[in-house]
């Protein structure tokens, strides 16, 4: 079939963010052949996302160099459609489909934002918090726009800083967690001086705690946001609302490969190996913890996958230091119960199939909801509404279905060729 190729490598790495780049760099020393697959058109993942409005950190540039090594094949803009068999992935980019045969696999799939529903959250102008940052880095124009940032977690300040640097007027950053938790969080940061300095740098006088979005308002586009701050409510006119409630690990590919999960993240041993032999995982798909942790986990995975056990062991202490930081963040940005009650009966939960809360509330679990209401039956395959249902109703995440992402039928057809069977 034209537009179909077969590739092979010793080590396949999924994701070109900090964990994936660190894994590739550590593994590249072995001179084994490496393939790095990333769905973004440019490397760096979310935190080191490149684009026309980005001046890239020296460290990010340095890590990226691994992608131009002769032993490394970098596949940008490439999505993983399915696992065809043990040791074989089906991929596609905008033009071509690939079968990639590998010996070992390192999953560095990162995290996605927890995007919880509130009235008006589907209006154009409303995005995730990290999403706004990503859009600006990719060249979106926000100069002169009135921007509100809301939700939870350290990402809010980073997003505000990016928006401000791009010329937006950030009129407020609304964090749901309370003052007590924030002070404890800040004091706790003394153990990670680099992070404390970062927090100071990003801190904004517009930062508000114990505050959250009540609703986004507008006719076919965002015009204003109703905010609750402590016990008071206010309506604030704005052009954009960036709202995210922290991050959740991306586990779809790992689940599809049969890797066990623990606490909604990919379970790994101390060498970053998953429950499946030969499949490693590193970075935020194994638990949200920031880029420093992702880097060291990626390095451990890259070393372990190439048999450099002692070198990997030497990193365990450093990794533990950043694992403690991850726990510290998690402990202080837990969601307050009212955040899970923002959606009204008519608020859409499934944005693909436009399924409202009232319809879902009648169902007993994910499978029944899916069959009866079409929730999660759309193009995102429940990636957004599945996380919501877990938060709101305690339902378990949907089983991944193939194709893992929308894929051309042509790509799926390529599998029937002799060499694919």
């Amino acid at each position: 079939m034209k537009n179909h190729k077969t590739l092979s490598c010793d080590i396949a790495i999924v994701g070109a963010g900090p964990a994936g780049l660190a894994a590739a760099r550590a593994a590249s020393v072995s001179q084994r052949s490496i393939a790095v697959i990333d769905d973004n058109p440019l490397p760096g993942g979310q935190i080191w996302r490149d684009g026309p409005q980005v001046s890239q950190l020296a460290m990010a540039k340095d890590y990226r160099r691994v992608l131009s090594l002769p032993t490394v094949r970098y596949l940008p803009g490439t999505r993983i459609v399915a696992s065809l068999a043990a040791g074989a992935l089906l991929l596609e980019d905008a033009q071509t489909s690939y079968r990639l045969d590998y010996e070992q696999l390192i999953l560095c799939c990162g995290a996605q934002e927890l995007l919880l529903p509130f009235p008006g959250w589907t209006l154009p102008g409303v995005t995730g918090a990290g999403a706004l940052q990503a859009l600006i880095k990719s060249g979106a124009s926000v100069a002169g726009e009135r921007v509100l940032i809301a939700g939870s977690g350290p990402l809010l300040l980073a997003s505000a800083a990016t928006a401000r640097a791009a010329g937006a007027l950030v009129s407020g950053v609304y964090e749901q967690t309370d003052r007590y938790q924030l002070i404890n969080f800040g004091v706790g940061l003394l153990r990670w001086p680099g992070k404390l300095a970062q927090a100071f740098k990003l801190f904004s006088t517009r930062y508000r705690w114990r505050s959250h979005v009540i609703e986004a308002m507008g006719d076919r586009r965002l015009e204003a946001v109703r905010i609750r701050q402590g016990d008071a409510e206010a309506v604030i006119a704005c052009d954009r609302l960036a709202c995210g409630f922290g991050l959740v690990p991306n586990t779809v590919l790992a689940q599809h490969l049969g890797c066990s999960l623990e606490d909604n993240a990919v379970a790994v041993d101390r060498y970053q190996q998953t429950s499946q032999t030969g499949i490693y995982a590193a970075g935020e798909c194994t638990g949200v913890g920031g880029s420093e942790l992702a880097l060291v986990e990626g390095e451990v995975a890259g070393l372990a996958a190439t048999g450099k056990v002692e070198q990997a062991q030497a990193l365990f202490t450093h990794r533990a230091y950043w694992q403690r930081f991850a726990r510290h963040v998690k402990e202080h940005f837990g969601l307050r119960p009212e955040i899970r009650r923002l959606a009204r009966v008519d608020t859409l939960i499934c944005r693909c199939e436009d399924v409202a809360l009232s319809v879902l509330a009648e169902e007993q679990g994910w499978n029944a909801a899916k069959l009866q209401s079409r929730c999660g039956m759309g193009a995102c395959q429940g990636r957004i509404c599945g996380s919501i249902a877990r938060e709101l109703f305690g339902w378990s995440l949907p089983e991944p279905r193939v194709p893992l992402v929308p894929a051309r039928i042509e790509t799926l057809m390529a599998c029937s060729e002799k060499d694919m069977s």
Binding site: N40, P52, T127, A140, V142, R221, R351
Partner: protein
């Protein structure tokens, strides 16, 4: 500078923008109409939510994970 055609209308811009970013330069940043006719724009920004799927050179693709190229034709999904 490159030229991209959005619903047939030429848009001139610098290089390196994603199609999702390009949409913000247009009159309306809408990527598609939902199945009940609601306007939707790029939302998650990182290839998860599928809100920004548009037709790029004849194929349905994600605006947030596609870089604009000279002469590219982008049609909103309506």
């Amino acid at each position: 500078m490159i030229t991209v055609y959005l619903d047939g209308q030429p848009l001139v811009m610098g290089e390196g923008l994603t199609v999702a970013a390009m949409l913000t330069l247009s009159e309306s940043s809408i990527a598609r109409l939902s199945c009940t006719g609601q306007p939707r724009a790029p939302f998650c920004g990182m290839g998860i939510c599928q809100e920004c799927r548009v037709t790029i050179d004849g194929r349905r693709q994600l605006a947030c994970q596609t870089l604009c190229q000279e002469g590219m034709h982008v049609e909103r999904t309506v």
